[in-house]
């Protein structure tokens, strides 16, 4: 069976290492915060200018001056810091954030990503997504493998306007965990019960299947 949003988030959370500064995008990436492994301390960066984002506040502690990049009211953890937008993107562009997790419409074999604009639909803007993908070394995309019509979102070449070129190296889908290497998707892990043939059928871009593909396990 294909993975739930929660399962995708929990698999990605296994990539978190102790001491990581992490930026989680809006949507499924946000759920990763719920699955931080035991014994691993991470600090969440919110690009509006908060390092050390905590949970949502209570009715008593809610504060209009304390929001995250999704404009939701949040709290700051002990040891947090707060700074300007320029400082925040200096951290991001300067490669100081250890891991960025974000969603996408399409990814291709060259690591290009399209995530902000569908021509013909109203364009709302890229927010911080272009800055986040441009310079980060370690980016994980979380998305469904195919759209609701069954069309692959892992392409030979992105069809939508790009958010960034040549920047994606790891992809978590509802069917598989893949890396992007030398102009191809490389299958690393399959979702439980999902066949390699199904993944092959739903991957439009070049797919390499090594001998040591593993099946994910979830407790």
């Amino acid at each position: 069976m294909s993975l739930s949003r929660e399962q995708m988030a929990s698999r990605v959370a296994r990539e978190l290492k102790d001491g990581y500064y992490v930026n989680l995008g809006i949507g499924i990436p946000t759920l990763v915060a719920n699955y931080i492994p035991q014994g691993v301390e991470v600090m969440l960066q919110s690009e509006n200018g908060l390092l050390g984002m905590g949970p949502f506040p209570t009715e008593e502690t809610i504060d209009a001056d304390m929001i995250n990049a999704g404009k939701q009211t949040v709290t700051a953890i002990t040891g947090a810091s707060i700074f300007s937008s320029a400082e925040s993107f200096a951290m991001i562009r300067g490669g100081h954030v250890d891991l960025t997790v974000l969603g996408a419409f399409e990814v291709d074999v060259n690591g290009d990503i399209a995530s902000w604009m569908i021509p013909g639909k109203l364009i709302k803007g890229m927010g911080g997504a272009m800055d986040l993908v441009a310079s980060a070394e370690n980016i994980i995309v979380i998305m469904t493998h195919a759209d609701k019509h069954g069309n692959s979102k892992l392409l030979e070449k992105c069809t939508l306007p790009l958010t960034g070129a040549g920047c994606i190296k790891q992809i978590m889908t509802d069917l598989a965990w893949l890396t992007v290497e030398d102009g191809a998707f490389v299958l690393r892990e399959t979702a439980p019960g999902i066949s390699i043939d199904e993944i092959r059928a739903k991957t439009a871009g070049k797919l390499i299947v090594p001998d040591d593909v593993r099946e994910m396990t979830f407790s």
Binding site: T30, A33, N34, S46, E47, N48, G49, L50, P55, F56, P57, T58, E59, I62, D63, A64, D65, M66, I67, N68, G70, K71, Q72, T73, V74, A76, I82, F83, S84, S85, A86, S88, F89, I92, R93, D112, M117, L122, I123, K124, G125, M126, G127, G128, A129, M130, D131, A134, S135, P161, L162, T163, G164, A165, G166
Partner: protein
């Protein structure tokens, strides 16, 4: 006003000199840390043809959104404008121009503008629609595009506290774009929750030094919340 005292008597004085066709940089992220009273004053003045640089354009009926009601904005330069129906209508009707700019690039454009840097290279936007028509260069194997700095006729910013000299501090994430915005206006107007006497704020803790601030006014703020997210248990 005498010496370094930046305090102005009222909102009319705060925004005096703003004319049709001018440019305005506004601090704030969503509805957080926006100069509510200064925006209201621009609406009262009825100034039109404005080019506004701000990360967002408020919501319907609040924040910069109120300047759309009387079509005061000609062009908006923002990273995200998805919260506003009137914005959408005017955009689709061709009554409003929008230039979408990546959030970090927008912040850096303001920072550069205030710091006397006319332009800078960044990897952000290379190979995307943002990079089209812009000069590009490769540095250490990274493709970059040249982005121009932003300055404007006016900057309107919101801080928490400032002394009469304009030395200011921001509160929590209401800081956001405000410090950069404060540096990049020919005339920078700051609206604060509290004006204190010089010496009351610790000089080491100042976020925006008073040299950037031309006019200072104390306002009252609604601080409307855009996404009210609550956790009874304290978990996200």
């Amino acid at each position: 006003m005498a010496g370094f005292d930046k305090v102005v008597p009222d909102y009319a004085a705060a925004m005096a000199g703003l004319e049709d066709g001018m440019s305005v940089i506004a601090g704030g992220f969503g509805l957080c840390g926006i100069p509510e009273g200064l925006i209201a004053q621009i609406k009262r003045m009825g100034t039109t043809g404005l080019t506004v640089y701000s990360n967002n354009c408020g919501v319907d009926g609040f924040g910069l959104g109120i300047l759309l009601e009387d079509r005061q904005v000609k062009k908006m330069v923002s990273s995200y404008v998805g919260e506003n129906k009137l914005f959408e209508q005017q955009l689709l009707a061709g009554e409003l121009e929008v230039e979408l700019t990546p959030q970090g690039t927008l912040a850096e454009k303001m920072r550069a503008g205030g710091a006397g840097i006319p332009a800078f290279f960044t990897a952000t936007g290379y190979g995307t629609p943002v990079g089209e028509g812009k000069e590009s260069r490769c540095f250490n194997g990274v493709n970059c595009i040249l982005e121009d700095a932003i300055t404007a006729d006016f900057s309107i910013v919101k801080a928490w506290k400032a002394d009469r000299y304009g030395n200011a501090i921001y509160r929590h994430t209401a800081q956001n774009f405000n410090p950069m915005a404060a540096t990049a206006g020919k005339i920078t107007v700051m609206e604060v929750e509290e004006i204190v006497e010089p010496g009351e704020l610790d000089p080491t803790g100042i976020h925006t030094p008073g040299i950037y601030v031309d006019r200072l006014i104390q306002g009252t703020f609604e601080k409307r919340i855009e996404q009210r997210t609550i956790s009874a248990s304290g978990g996200a």
